[in-house]
Each structure stands twice: as structure tokens, then as C-alpha cells.
């Protein structure tokens, strides 16, 4: 299977997964006894945050691998994952704000989990901005690999912030305390968003690889 076919298969699987997530979250899962329908936001908020974190794990691993091997494909992979991660973490933060307003009474508060998440988004927006600051592909890849490694330190801080500090945001739920249909809906979302991330990264990687080859052709024939 070539890369283009694999991307199409991933896109179809992610599409089916996302439609299933919407159905599971809006129809299949029962209404929460305390929060009512607004709790259904969990079935998209948690998977969006999970897939954003996973994207930054890919940036971290690809950045380390790039510094060791100096293979530009690893830099393209880190770039693709960083961009998808920014979209997904940005979505998770926006969904959290929409959930926060009816439950906490505010769209935003400088709570440890929310603040650490905002810092995470800012770090990777900085990573993407940094890519436009030099025309030398090797230097760009080296600088971004350093940011991709150091910036990742905030990911465990975001995850553990609800355990380390007193926060409005709830700590992670245990599968033992969640009703089975709710758990099924949540897992559907997690799998769908993981496939979606793979699809986004695959598409963005193809574009980055073609753009790099085009840049090389134009520079070498200028």
C-alpha cells in the first residue's frame, strides 16, 4: 500500500470514527444525572485533548530522532504533528470553555489545568512561528527539534496539574466509576480522534515533503 492510499484509508476510517463518536455522544450515551446533556461534551473534549497530547509525543520523539539522525523526513513528521496538535489542543481548550460556562459559571479561569493547557498551546504556536524565522532548512529543523523536546515538558505538567494542585477541573475519572455506555462512547471518541490525528499528520507530512522537494528544485536551478 503506497502512502497516498494509506492516507485515503486513514481518512475514511477517521470519518467513520468521527460520525460514530457524534452518534455515541449525542444518542447512545445516557444523560448524566447531575450535569444533564452538557456532560456529553466530554465525548469530544477528552478525545481532542488526548489526540493533542499524542501529537506532541510524536513531535518529541521525532525531534529527538532528528537530532540523532539528521534525516529531514523526521523534521517533516515533527512539523506535521505539531500543526495537528495545535488544532486539536486548541479545540479541546475551546470545548472546555463551552463546558465551563454552564457548569462553573465562567468561560475561562486561571486554574492550574487551564493555565498549563494555555501555555502548552502557546509553546507549540511558537514552534510553528519559529519555522518561518529562517530559510535554512537544516537550521530550522535543529531549532525546532530543540523547542519540540523542551516544550514537551509541559505535557506531563498539564496531565498531572489536577493531581498536584487544587483545581476547578476534575481529576481523571476511573473506568470503575463510569457507566459502561458512557465508557464505550468515550473509547469510540478516543479511537476516532487517534485515527483523525494519524490522517491529519499523514496529509500534512505529504505536503511538507513535496514543498521541501520543490524548494530544493527551485534553489538548485535558480
Amino acid at each position: 500500500m503506497n502512502r497516498s492510499t494509506m492516507t485515503k484509508v486513514l481518512g475514511a476510517a477517521a470519518g467513520i470514527g468521527i460520525v460514530s463518536t457524534l452518534w455515541m455522544g449525542l444518542v447512545f450515551a445516557p444523560q448524566d444525572r447531575l450535569m444533564g446533556d452538557v456532560q456529553r461534551i466530554m465525548y469530544v473534549h477528552v478525545p481532542a485533548a488526548w489526540s493533542g497530547f499524542l501529537a506532541f509525543v510524536v513531535v518529541f520523539v521525532a525531534s529527538i530522532a532528528y537530532l540523532m539522525k539528521r534525516d529531514e523526513r523526521l523534521d517533516h513528521l515533527a512539523h506535521a504533528a505539531a500543526e495537528a496538535g495545535v488544532v486539536l489542543i486548541g479545540l479541546a481548550i475551546a470545548l472546555g470553555a463551552i463546558w465551563g460556562k454552564p457548569t462553573w459559571g465562567v468561560w475561562w479561569t486561571w486554574d492550574p489545568r487551564l493555565t498549563a493547557s494555555a501555555v502548552l498551546l502557546a509553546i507549540y504556536l511558537g514552534y510553528l512561528a519559529l519555522r518561518g524565522m529562517t530559510d535554512d532548512p537544516e537550521r530550522r529543523a535543529r531549532w525546532c527539534a530543540a523547542v519540540g523536546i523542551i516544550g514537551f515538558l509541559d505535557v506531563p505538567i498539564v496531565y498531572l496539574s489536577v493531581l498536584w494542585w487544587r483545581t476547578l477541573h476534575q481529576p481523571p475519572s476511573s473506568p470503575e466509576t463510569v457507566a459502561r455506555p458512557m465508557l464505550l462512547a468515550l473509547w469510540t471518541g478516543v479511537i476516532a480522534f487517534t485515527l483523525l490525528l494519524a490522517f491529519f499528520v499523514s496529509l500534512r507530512y505529504q505536503a511538507a515533503r513535496d514543498e521541501a522537494e520543490l524548494e530544493f528544485l527551485e534553489v538548485s536551478h535558480a
Binding site: 481518512g11 468521527i18 457524534l22 455522544g25 449525542l26 450535569m35 444533564g36 446533556d37 452538557v38 456529553r40 461534551i41 469530544v44 473534549h45 481532542a48 488544532v87 479545540l91 475551546a94 470545548l95 463551552i98 463546558w99 460556562k101 454552564p102 483523525l196 490522517f199 491529519f200 496529509l203 500534512r204 505529504q206 505536503a207 513535496d210 514543498e211 522537494e213 520543490l214 528544485l217 527551485e218 536551478h221
Partner: protein, 49 residues
């Protein structure tokens, strides 16, 4: 509590729109990059993919 169902609908609409818009933007960018690369290969005497 305000109309909680409205917040839920807003969240699902935002999710769907974000995925659709970013997905279509990525697909268009990948197609354009591939097209420009093939044109450059033709111009500079490379091979098509």
C-alpha cells in the same frame, strides 16, 4: 443552569466544523504541493510521480 443543551450543540458543531475545515484545508494544500512539484519536475527535467 442556563440552557445546557445549547452549549452541548455548540460544542458538537464546533468540533465538526474544526475537523471539516482543517481536513479540507490540509487536503487542498497537499494537492497543490503535489501539483506544483510535478510542474517543477517537468520544468527542470525530473520525473513525474
Amino acid at each position: 443552569m442556563p440552557d445546557a443543551r445549547g452549549f452541548m450543540v455548540a460544542a458538537y458543531v464546533l468540533t465538526t466544523l474544526t475537523i471539516a475545515v482543517y481536513g479540507m484545508r490540509l487536503a487542498a494544500r497537499a494537492r497543490a504541493a503535489h501539483r506544483r512539484l510535478n510542474a517543477a519536475r517537468t520544468l527542470y527535467g525530473g520525473t513525474h510521480e
